[in-house]
Amino acid sequence: MSQDRGVGPMDSLPPGLIELRARAAWVTLAALVLVFASFWSLDLHWRELWSRESAAAMARFLAEFFPPDTSAAFVRRVAKATGETLAMSALGTLLAALCGLLLALPAARTHSARWRVPTRMLLNALRAIPELVWASLLLIAAGLGPMAGTLALALHTTGVLGRLFAEAIENAAPGPGFALRAQGARPAQVFLYATLPQAAPQLLSYTLYRWENNIRAAAILGVVGAGGLGQLLFYHMGLFQMARTATVLLAMLALVLAVDGASYWARRAMTR
């Protein structure tokens, strides 16, 4: 598909067939070896999974889900947990947007390398550790509950947004900034009145995109005890209260589908 998209006269020459094919063959072979080694080394219990007992256990397990617990008191609790999930994701994203903006300034290429390198390393480390791992680390400091989840979302998202924000700031046109600086404006004024207004739409769209991701993440974060729907799910599943587990699962799926639908609709509305 891409070979025929020639750019220059050199590209119209036939590619070095032997070299090209050999590399593709080596990579394919390596992938196959990796797949076979994976299946071979893991002690996978396929036989147990497909056995009659396991099928019966699975069927019993699924049958216990029905009917979901729809008593008013429990539905109210699930609704509260859903609200908590949304609040966690919103506050986490907001904190991350603020911290990300603060860290993006030294991380942007418009600043000196002395601060840029350590800030970038910090952002990479924040981003590399998933929300759930942050949450289980933070449980030690913040205790069980939604605050640990909120902070975990904030830390991971700071890493993601900081990097994206730094790129957005780098891409802002330098002209307005120069004009203000020539008039004697201070660096903070240059940022607030020249760089920020230019980058703001992009910063906002990145933040909203991460919020969407964070709602999904917040729904499951609780399985380590960090609040929201996940915590409720883990609690009732642990007690084998399957009817209640089913209600929580349904709420979770409804939330994910609602977020997907809202984001699809918003994107369509914005691009139209």
Partner: protein
């Protein structure tokens, strides 16, 4: 500024120090504080709790334990074994997901519809395609962590549940994206083949696959990279690998072991990231 003062001759020229939009900004600030308050209450956001003496003591002891990271030979061997298991769970999961996604994508894509050659798609194929799409939505809407929780209950602790969880969620995602990639291909060769009486699989292999292969491979590699990250997370609910090991070290508050595993994990993610970027670049 010059034009503004020209039209409003009667008033004094606005001082250059004042922000002309300050009213709106202040209103937004107040409104957001009003919105923020319930969020803080709902998330029980009380960061000062982390600063009380007992909590600080525990945290300090845990974080203090990070240095030096645990490097005993026996522990490193265990970490290496669990790291391989993490990679293996991700790889096996994605391999199964591909097995699941390929037929689903072939059924779901409208690019291989024979009946729509003559105008509108017939009712039965339309219903089959919609049902396949719904199945894929159901597969990927359930987060892999929830699949893993369910499978841990059925097949017990261990990598089987991790592999199955990744296979199901990623099967749904790959199937959806594969179907879309096939639909974004140049339709002319496929339609010509179908119109001349070739089978759907033939039309796929000779019309669609040559166009779509790089993009399909690239997306599969990207998903493998994501699966490595998610297979660590799955370990926290007992699906084996580095995550399960990290979870048990965390529960014992063994800071030095956690530190080593975090470093290994960051290195693993960076490695997978680099490998996947290199492979995808060379596909272009």
């Amino acid at each position: 500024m010059a034009i503004g003062s020209g039209t409003g001759l009667a008033g004094a020229p606005p001082s250059p120090d004042r922000d002309p939009a300050w009213g709106g900004r202040l209103a937004w600030l107040l409104a957001s504080i009003l919105l923020l308050w319930p969020l803080l209450v709902m998330t029980e956001f009380r960061p000062w709790q982390m600063l009380d003496a007992r909590s600080l003591h525990v945290t300090a002891r845990f974080v203090g334990g990070f240095l030096p990271p645990a490097v005993s030979l026996e522990f490193l061997a265990r970490v290496a074994r669990e790291t391989w298991r993490t990679v293996a769970i991700a790889t096996a999961g994605v391999a199964l997901a591909l097995l699941l996604a390929t037929p689903l994508a072939l059924v779901a894509t409208t690019a291989l519809s024979v009946s729509s050659l003559a105008g509108r798609m017939a009712l039965l194929p339309f219903l089959v395609r919609q049902a396949t799409r719904a199945a894929m939505v159901a597969l990927r809407t359930v987060p892999e962590l929830v699949w893993a929780l369910v499978f841990v209950r059925v097949v017990g602790l261990g990598p089987t549940s991790g592999v199955l969880a990744i296979a199901l969620t990623y099967g749904g995602m790959l199937g959806k994206v594969f179907a879309e990639i096939l639909e974004s291909c140049e339709a002319h060769p496929t339609r010509t083949l179908l119109a001349n009486g070739s089978g759907r699989l033939q039309a796929f292999f000779y019309g669609l696959l040559p166009q779509a292969a790089p993009e399909l491979t690239s997306y599969a590699i990207y998903r493998w990279e994501c699966a490595i990250r998610s297979s660590v997370v799955l370990g926290f609910v007992g699906a084996g690998g580095l995550g399960q090991e990290m979870d048990s070290s965390l529960k014992m508050l063994a800071g030095n072991e956690v530190a080593t595993m975090l470093l290994v994990f960051i290195a693993l993610v960076a490695l997978a990231d680099g490998l996947s970027a290199w492979l995808r670049r060379s596909l272009r």
